[in-house]
Amino acid sequence: MNASQWLIKAMLAEGVDTLFGYPGGAIMPFYDALYGSDMRHILVRHEQAAAFAANGYARASGKVGVCVATSGPGASNLVTGMADALLDSVPMVCITGQVASPLIGTDAFQELDVYGLTLPIVKHSFLVRHLHELPEVVREAFRIARSDRPGPVLIDLPKDIQIADASELPAYVPAPVQQREAAPDAAVQAAAALLASAKQPVLYAGGGVVLAEAEAQLRSFVDATGLPSTLTLKGLGALPAAHPHLLGMIGMHGTHGANLAVHEADVLLVVGARFDDRATGKLSEFAPNAEVIHMDADAAELSKLRHADVALPGNLRLNLQHLQQALLAHGDNTALPAWRDVCQQRRDSHAARYDAPGSGVYAPALLKRLSELAPDAVVACDVGQHQMWVAQHWRLQRARNHLTSGGLGAMGFGLPAAIGAQLQNPQGQVVCVSGDGSFMMNVQELATLYRYNIPVKIVLLDNQVLGMVRQWQTLFFDERHSEIDLSDNPDFAELAKVFRITSRSLRDASDMDAALAELLAHDGPMLLHVHIDSKANVWPLVPPNSNNTQMLDMHINTDAPLPPPDADDDSHVPQPMATEEVCA
């Protein structure tokens, strides 16, 4: 048995059943060991897609995703997927071939210092210098990837190590899973006292809830305490979309109900969220009157951007349970019902509208309808306007059903991530929602869909423009539309057919239900090419350097401002922006 064969056995022992990768010179011994092994390998058509597919596999399952590439360009092509995994805390192990040890540092063919290249974008990395290091490297790589705040780990494996005789290496034993301790009881009691005396408390939860597998605890907490609640982009689904206490998404494209409630909160309970700038808007004006209780598994997030009056580090599941018990022991908060009513009325009065004029397809209406037709589907998004429309209008029931490149915002993520999600749950429904800009960044993966008959359903929202950039140029750059025109797009339905993927085009809203029904019922992969208005925008929008009450909002026809929903509430009125204040 050589080291490559040993490594495959070790990964099988770790529970890995699928690798996503692409072979090449410096990883050939590993691929030779794969031949005839029990490990499934998915041959993608670009290494970036291997990293995104492993990423999607991990996000949807909670398991460690594994991708493989050769040295040099193979390794560098993984970089975007690794960075995405770091910023969104996705457990991944990335294996790269490296030139043989004697050649390292000689500028050999396809030699690249991927170890140095990726230092800032990995949770940790290993370059295996000696065979005897391999068992500890693999054990630590998987342990680090999945423990605490998950992330990507690189194993750079020189070619001579891959072929070394591993018959003397010990049998592989995975590292045990370690549970984190709960926060000190004194901190829990302090948090409970603060919430019990609050007049306008709000809960703001994020992706940390999902990473900690604490959805059940969060739902129990919200049900029991009745706190008005909001979710970040990464937290969407942690509470079901129709939960009565959920005010919607917070932040730049969040709801009026959520943003106004947080702005007026006197106590803000932050659970598994990190005060990301897309969530907070202008940080110095975020929740200006609130005392903050911050619960997060990553102690480095506590008081990083906003001072935590009470910090609850450690095990998120236990902390939610303990805080729920401690808060309920205080009895009813008499101020809460009236505050909750205000929040819910505001949410309802600003509810999204789907009565778009004209005969064309209104993307938010399509996405809402599709999510109702496929309530258990995993939806993998690309990045741009369609991503925000999914966040706003897809009726999510479960957080792991929402795969979105939140931190890195990587166009090209959607299709390969959907492939990974589908392969970890072959019987499940997986939908990729993409835009015409993003889709072309990994369009080659249509070939992967065909090769393995992966039944991902693609909804391609084609507005023939880089829509989010156009929207910003319209709003903040004096309508100077620079390099956004995609009107010479290919016919995507025809393009799919070239890859032997079934496809259909959709132009009229009247055909929408039939097209969606056909898409979901199709046995195998299918692409629905949806033509939408090139001038449609994502509303609401908090301009840069503004606080979250300064939302811009427009009617769905994109021309007329919405009439004031409440004469006393002028927070929706568009605020003028000075050009020099604009920054992305």
Binding site: L119, P120, E140, I144, D298, A300
Partner: protein, 84 residues
């Protein structure tokens, strides 16, 4: 060093592993601090004893938290001076 910057001194014990010292320095700089003084000495345990002085306008705990998360950082403590 701007007028708002403060200087801090940290003492770390760091694993003697590939690029471990680069990770320390990279994390310091990526988190918007500047390295003002850096020394690393092998200790009897086969690790590095690192003394580093940094400057920056952000609270030092924001950097300490990131350094403590590094796999190769065995321990970290604030130090009174650059010569601790």
């Amino acid at each position: 060093m701007s007028l708002t910057d403060q200087q801090h001194h940290l003492q770390l014990r760091v694993r003697d592993a590939e690029a471990a010292l680069l990770r320390i320095i990279g994390t310091i700089e990526r988190r918007s601090f500047r390295v003002r003084r850096f020394s690393a000495t092998p200790n009897a345990h086969g690790d590095w004893d690192v003394q580093v002085s940094v400057s920056g306008s952000r609270p030092i705990h924001t950097l300490q938290g990131q350094l403590e998360k590094l796999y190769d950082c065995i321990s970290l403590a604030p130090s009174d001076s650059a010569h601790a």
